[in-house]
Every structure is written in structure tokens, then in C-alpha cells.
Symmetry: D2
Subunit: 306 residues, 4 copies
């Protein structure tokens, strides 16, 4: 017997002080606060089962692959033979899920700060990780990502940074600075490649440009690229960096061929045309990228203004 | 480390299709759906720890006594010696808490439909019941209130109806009809008295009047009275009925004297002046009460239109 | 041809940072910003045509008389023969409308700060003022209320303060201090009486108590009383002060008699029982009033915290 | 003097019954209802001065060029020499503004249903039309678009359909059917080309596919393409159709060359790379396009489900 027909539990994702997206919460699976953040696992109207951290949707079953495949595959395919992969963040397990699709991968080290969130996702969000937490190639380390990368060197073919946006006072601002990228480069084996999520270029173009510029201070070849994620309320950006490889130099045909030979599972989002779409940046964003010269350091961090 | 400063989890309590009250959810204690209704136990900004059923705040620690003391004490003090008391509904245990404050009470039978909600409140909302579920004078029966009152006769000195509003399709519409009040009267010992919550006379004056008129078809002495409950977004109404006793005939001095001799615990809301306030109905509500002649039967129920 | 069925224009009245009331805007009559405040005249779902200042509903056709009759009549009837009346604020013209209902009134001086709002209400909100702006007994002065009361003495029988709440940084904080009430008293003829709106005792009990205490520093007889205003989301308070008269000392019978002999028009809200309701303060508010000893001065103002 | 710091006037753009975007209204320029729709011209937080029809943002100064340049230029540059252009809809004047940038254009016929909206935009939204309503090459006709195209033949080189989404009961459902596109084709001179806005492929992929399929029943060469419009809360789709020309066959270099020779004004969004971005459809949308076989006719219209 259902009485009310109007939805009554909502989350509001504030884009700014005067804009927000409201979504009806259909069912709550977990709602608590860890040492680091407030988390909610819930069925959201229109988006499906989702992980929300500090009010921001991180992953929704309906469209998370628009993000996770975009994050992982361009750099993985740019490297000729990625065997050891580092993932910083990615607590819900969807990033490592995509990494494990590459037949060449022998070892994945995932470093996440928040045991409680990782544990809760592993138990309650199998739709996202799809068992990848139990892949024997995984080493899961609960640790501060910055400290971890400063403690290791010369190991990884690919490093993937999948952490929350650099919000003022947030846990991730130290993972977007020149010092961090230098440490991250140092964890790489020769001719490694990195990628980081790089905020929304439609909502925060200046911060996206700063991340691109900061990576460019450390790596010779850098490229920005973008996807769209409905759950994130806009276009979404990434920055790849390497001294040798550049996914922007691969065309649609080459991508199709690499996928067919190097990926051992189905992809839902990424293919040759999608690659071309992601690397063809529309003019207004290119103009911001060419205009902004700033970069971030530990003493002058990039932060999103809500 | 707290990142977001704007609240992001809300409930909306719809007053109508174009009005609602939004409240930030600070902490979730329980959020699920029972056989009968969706329930949420949560800390709400401004209201404190609260029980919410199907989107409607039922009780908040900050002001529930404005409701529960108003519901219980006028009829309990009007009866000269209430020993056996029936409570229909009142799942969070605050109504029986007030009943047990009367020194004369020997036995309370509480009948609630929804075991899951009662159980969850008993475990997670001790702020409201304050242990009254464990009072040895209590007999708790999980049953349909209508069926229960049709199965028993001649027992109770006071009967208190504390159920949700008669919403279209809701679980309580059969607890506001003439047939129900006749059955309820039949459960009473000689010269018993009843009271029912009677919706908001500021938001739904017509339904309040119908409840008053319906009780008046069964009892010789009937009186409407009102309190204010911030958590309920307005004034709140009650209707008392008896063939012999009428709380409206008691003045402030008499109430003070009865409280001092018959109540064995502290009251936070009810006293002589408060009684006078509740029984002095403002003119616009009196005018609705005198204008509306309708009453409710099983075949012509009163229902709230949202 | 109507396409959307869901309402899409809303105002949110924030009660605090985590609570608010949302109301659908059905039709906009005026929406602009004066020198002093943002104003909106609009049809609101559930409330009717309304004046909204800086996000706060000031008057709605559906229930403004619960406020304006409560503000005006108790003090007007307490004075034996009110001929000259001062109204500070009351820009929509509903307060003077009620004052003019008293047959004894010869002259009303209304002092409002904001010409643009007064003018717009006069043109677009005749439902509220009902022509009272054109009553020949009215003298309308556009001026700062504080300056006006400091410039005049010994004139008025009754003074009515109908200004916005004392919000931090708002235009009215200087109209709630001891210095203001001393100046206001000085504008009165011998044995005059004043009343001020005194915020919501359910939402802001401490500020209500401070206003009461501040008036009590200036007048020998002071009384708090309360009504309920749906448009204001709660109970609403007033404070009356005089060296001689006290509306709290009038009973329901006396009020009925005074209304019948001294008021030349219909009342929708106020009568004897309503008077008794308003002056019977419920216990939790009385307890705040007896506990709070603070008062406001120009150097230590009372301000509402949202 | 500003009192409230929290925004209090909002519009909600409902994406579905459980999702919406809320935006603070900073300033209202016009708010009324025409014969056909409710309209609002307002400054929206984050978006700038905007036209909103029936609750849906149509154009915002901050990003309308992501839409209007995407709508107009691909088909205009595909045609070798567009002299006469038909625009159906486009009431705010931004579509004709882009058409007039093409040096070859001699005559533009704009047909819009709603005189009141067109007139209000012309007076109050010069930021959008930038004077194009006063271009001597314009003939503005207030008429039903469907009737107009059925009354004329053999005239236009390019026809552009810029009308609201096909919402159930809305004014535009008859402008998305096979019969409409046949009539529209009949208005074209030999080898003309058309384009229509084609809803959001991220929010409503099925309707986008139906529009593509419907145009494909009438024209031999059809292509879907997409942009992103923040004001529209997602990706946005278009469908171009012609028996001879296809913008999808033009590469970035060719586009750059055509812009430099044929466009007499600055573009902010469209260039070679942007063209490549728009015509590289990501895989999930391509899959919907290949799976859906439905098309729309006057007796079986496509409608968006909110």
C-alpha cells in the first residue's frame, strides 16, 4: 500500500551557490560518514544505483562506463605493453575493472585512502566492481596516495589517478600539483604514461586548464580529452601525460585494431569513433586551454570554487 | 575533514502539489520500507532526531511533546480515574509514554499495524519512547486497529487514536468513520472517553470539521481543540468525545490542580494556561466548524487532498 | 495549450540553513529591487496573491488577517478613545486598513521607508489595502521610521510597529532597541499604547523574549501574545506596551462588547475567543520568556540568526 | 542594503518526475503567458540572461552559441551557395543571427507561432538577436510553421527547424513527422538541405533516433550530430537531411576553408575541430541509432516522456 505519489527523499548536487541538480532517492543501501567523507549508496531516480561522496555522484550504474572507459583505455592502449598498473583512488572498483580487461596486465596496485568506503562498495556495489576486487592480480593498499607515490619508484607502466575534484579543504588537492606529478612520474618504469581525471571543462574550464598545464611541466607529451557524463552534469575532462606516448596521436582505425587485439572483454563506450570524439575538443574549450597559463604547485594549489 | 558546506540530503514534505517544506537530513539511522509504509529515522536540521513515514514527519525530539501531551492529557484528566487505556497507533511509543505518567493507570493496550516500524522505533528511537515499551503495564498487539476494536467490548476508560492522516489510499482511512467510532465506543467501559488526532485545522479545516462531526454522531459531548506543531507545519487539531466528560469544561485552575494530584512525572507542554490556549479556537476555524455539516462513514470516507 | 504539468517557478523561504518552505509561483505581478530590498508581488500556490520582500512572505490574501487583525485590534481596543494613530512600516496598506475600522480614528500617520514598495503595493495589491491608501484621514510619509519618531512628541494615542524582522544587516534592526522604544513613547500623548510585531516565538523564541524585555524597560505594563500565520510558517508574536493599558487584562466578554461598539466594519479573525487564544501563551514559550533576561540597545541589538 | 544571502527565487527544470535542475533567478525582465506558452526572461545564476519557455531554458547568453552555431553552420556550409533560407521557430532571433553571417544570404523567411514571445525577445533580449530582427533581408511571418510549409514550394536553399521539443500536448509535435518533412522538402529549391534540432540524445536517445529515421524517409542523405549545451543539461542532437549534400562528409580542413571564404563574421563555437567533434558520435548513442527502427507520422507521433 503506497500513500504518497510525489517523491520525498532527495539529494541536491550543488554546482554553485545558485545552481543544483535534485534527484529523488528511491532506496538507501548505505548512508554514513567515514573518517574522510560522507557517503551514500542509493538508487537514484534516472541514474540507477549510485555512489555519492560528500554530495557528489561518483558513479552510477546507468552511465559510469562513459567515465571509466574514457579514463582507462586511451592510455592503456597508447602504451605498447602495460603489465603493471597503478590506480590512485577509484574506490568503487570500476577503474580496476576496466584495467583488468587488458590482456597484458599482470599486476594492479590500487591505493585508496578510505577503507570504509572501499569496503562498503565491495559489499554493496558489486554492480560496479563486478568482482574485480577479487581478481588475484590486484594488490589493494589503504593509504594516502601522495605518500604512496613518494615511497616507490620505477615500477609501473601506467598510472591512473581517479580521485575526487580538488575542492577547497577536500582530501585530494595534493593530488593535482606539480610535485605530485613528479612523484608519480618517478613511480613509472621507463616510458610510462599517466592519466588523471581533470574536472569538468564545461563547468570549471580554468581548473581543467591548470591540471593540463601542471602535467605539462612534468611530461613532454600531454593531451586533454573530454567525454560527457550525465551523472556528473556535464562534459568531463582528462589529462594524459608521458614522455613518449600520446593517445591523441592514435586515429580511429588504429584504436579499433588495438581494441581487437589487446582487450579481452566487451566495451560499452570506447571504440574508434568515440576516441575521435573525445580527442576533438570544441573551440570554446580549446580557447580556454590556450589562454590559461597557470599551473598548480603544493604552495599554490588549484581549487574548484563552488 | 568536511568538504561540502551546503547541505545535500533533503526530505521534502509536500503540503500540496505546489507547496512543500524541505529539511536537510543530517544523519540517517534507518531507511527502509515495511509491509505498510516507507520509513526513515533521521536527524533533521532544526527538528532533531525524527521518525518520518511516507514522507511525513511523525515525531521529532525537538517538539513532539507539543503533540503527544496535547493528545493524551486533556482526556486522561477529564476521566475521574483512568485505569485501563487503549492506544491505537502511536508506533514510536511517545503516546504510551504520556499515558504512563498518570498514576492511576493499571493497563495500557497498544495496537499498531506495523511491527517493523514499532520494532525499529523501539531499537533506534529511545529518545521518544524513553523506555515505555518496557513498562510492565503495557500489552503491545500488532494488529489492524479497526479489527481489534470490533473484537472487544466494555473494557477501557480512555481510548486514544494516534494514527496517520486519512490520505487517499492510506492505511488509516477506516479509522475516521462513524462505524469505527461506534466500535471504539463499544470497547469503552461505562462513561469512557476517546480522543483522536484530527489533522491540521489550518491546512485541512474541512477534514478537521468532518472528524468532529463524525465523533459527534456517536458521543453526546464533543470538543475540538488545537495545538501547534512546528514539525507538522502548522496548527494541529484533536477531537475528544464522551457521553459524560468534556475537557472543554475544565478551566485553567482545575487543570493545574488535576495535574498536581494525578500526574506522577514532569510535563513540558501541558498546564492550565496551555489548556486554555488549546480550547480557545480562533474565529476562522470556528467558522469552518460551524459551516461544515458533513461526516464520514465507511462508504463515504473523509480523505485529505494533497 | 499547457505543456508542463509540474510547477517550475518557485520561491524558497529559508527558515535556517537547513530548512525552507518552497512555494510555486503561479503568476508574477511585479518583480524588482528597490533602493532597500528585493520585492515580488505574485500569486503563490496555496497562499494566493502575496507580497514577498527579500525572500520572506509579508502578506498573503489567504491569511493576512490572522496577522493584521492580531496586530491592530488588541491595543486599539485597550485605549479608551484612539484618535491619532502612528503606523511605522506596513507598506502593503493592510495595517492602516484595520486601523481605519475603528470609528474613533481621526488621523493616521503612516511612515514607511520604501516609496517604491509602497507605490507598487498601492497600484498592484488593492486586495490587501482595499482602498485605505485613499482614506482622507491618512498622512503617508516616506521616511526612516527611527528618524521620524525622534522628531515628534506628544501626539499619538496608539503607535503600531509593523516592520520586517531584525535580520543581521537588515533595514529594521534599529526599530527594536530600548532607545527606539523610548523615542516611540515620546511620540505618544498621555497614556498612549504601542504594539510591535515581535517575530515568531516558535522559530525564534529568544528574540521574541528580548523584544518583550526591551519594551518592558520603557513601559510599565507589557504583554506578549501570539497568533498563527500559515504564510509565516509558524506561530507569530506581538508585544504591547503602555504605562496604563494592558490588553491582557481584557476578557472575552469585554472584547466582544468593545468590538460591537467601537469597530465600524467586519472582522474576519479577531473576537473574544480569539483574544483569549492569543493571550493564553503555551507553557514552552512562557518558560523561554521567564528564562531570557536579555534586552536590546542600539549598541547591543537583537538579531535573528537564520 | 541586502539582507538575505541565500538565493530564494528559483526555477526547476524537470528532467523527469524524479530529477530536476534548480537555478536561482537573479533578476526578472519579463514573466507572463502568451496564447501558446508561459515565458520568462530572466538572469539565471551561472547561465546569464535567458529565455525560458514552459519551464525549459531555450537560450542563455552564456552558451547559446554552442547550440545556435551547431544548428546553423553545418548545413549552410554544405550547400554551395545558400541565398534563400527558411527558419521555422527560433523566436529569440539567435538562429537568424547566425544565418545572416553567411555572405551569400539574400533573404531569410522566419516563421514563428508566437508573436508575443518574438516581440518580447526583440525588445528585451537584444543580447541574443544582436539586431538581426532589423536586418533588411529578414521577412518575419507570425504563423503556424506546419501550415506555412504546406503553402509554399520550390523556394529555399536551406530550411532550419528550431522549435521546442515534441512534448505530449505541446505546440511542436506536428513539426517532427514524416508528413511535415515531406512538406518541408517541397519548400526547397533543387538540391536544398534541411536541419532540425533533434532533442537530447543523452536524455532521450529513442526520440532522437526516431527523428533521424523520420528525416531519412524523406531525404537520401541523413546525418545525426551532437553538441553539448550546459543550459540544456546534456548533449544535444541535430539531424540534417538532403538528397545531395551531407555535412558529415566534410572534414576539418574543408570546414576551415569554407568558414574563411563564406562567413562574414566571427564564430565563437564552430570550426574544423568542433565539426569533427560534433560528427563523431560516441558508441552508446550510435548503438541506439542502429537499434531503433521507428519513425514518426501524423498519426503516430514521437513524443518525449518526462
Amino acid at each position: 500500500m503506497r500513500v504518497m505519489t510525489l517523491p520525498w527523499k532527495f539529494i541536491v548536487e550543488w554546482i554553485s551557490a545558485g545552481e543544483g541538480v535534485i534527484r529523488s532517492v528511491e532506496k538507501v543501501y548505505a548512508s554514513s560518514r567515514s573518517e574522510y567523507q560522507e557517503y551514500l549508496i542509493a538508487e537514484l531516480y534516472g541514474l540507477g544505483k549510485s555512489l555519492i561522496l560528500d554530495g557528489k555522484v561518483q558513479s552510477s550504474t546507468s552511465d559510469e562506463y562513459w567515465y571509466h572507459e574514457a579514463l582507462v583505455h586511451p592510455v592503456m592502449l597508447s602504451h605498447p605493453n602495460p603489465r603493471r598498473v597503478l590506480v590512485i583512488g577509484g574506490g568503487e572498483g570500476a577503474t580496476i575493472r576496466e584495467v583488468f580487461k587488458h590482456c597484458s596486465v599482470k599486476e594492479v596496485v590500487m591505493v585508496d585512502l578510505d577503507y570504509e568506503v572501499v569496503h562498503t562498495c565491495r559489499e554493496s556495489l558489486s554492480e560496479l566492481h563486478q568482482g574485480s576486487f577479487y581478481d588475484p592480480r590486484l594488490e589493494l593498499i589503504i593509504s594516502d596516495g601522495r605518500k604512496f607515490v613518494e615511497s616507490i619508484s620505477g615500477v609501473f607502466d601506467v598510472a591512473i589517478v581517479d580521485v575526487v575534484d580538488p575542492i577547497e579543504g577536500g582530501p585530494a588537492t595534493a593530488l593535482y600539483t606539480e610535485e605530485f606529478y613528479r612523484a608519480l612520474k618517478n613511480t613509472l618504469a621507463e616510458n610510462g604514461i599517466i592519466v588523471t581525471q581533470a574536472v569538468s571543462p564545461s563547468l570549471h574550464p580554468r581548473v581543467h586548464a591548470i591540471i593540463r598545464n601542471t602535467v605539462a611541466r612534468v611530461f613532454r607529451k600531454v593531451s586533454s580529452y573530454i567525454t560527457y557524463v550525465r551523472s556528473y552534469n556535464g562534459l568531463w575532462g582528462f589529462v594524459a601525460g608521458s614522455d613518449k606516448y600520446n593517445p591523441a596521436e592514435l586515429d580511429a582505425t588504429k584504436i579499433e585494431q588495438l581494441i581487437s587485439t589487446r582487450i579481452c572483454a566487451e566495451l560499452k563506450f570506447y571504440d574508434g569513433y568515440t576516441h575521435q570524439w573525445m580527442f576533438s575538443i570544441p573551440k570554446p574549450i580549446r580557447e580556454v586551454l590556450s589562454r590559461i597559463k597557470d599551473y598548480a604547485t603544493d604552495t599554490n594549489k588549484a581549487v574548484l570554487q563552488l
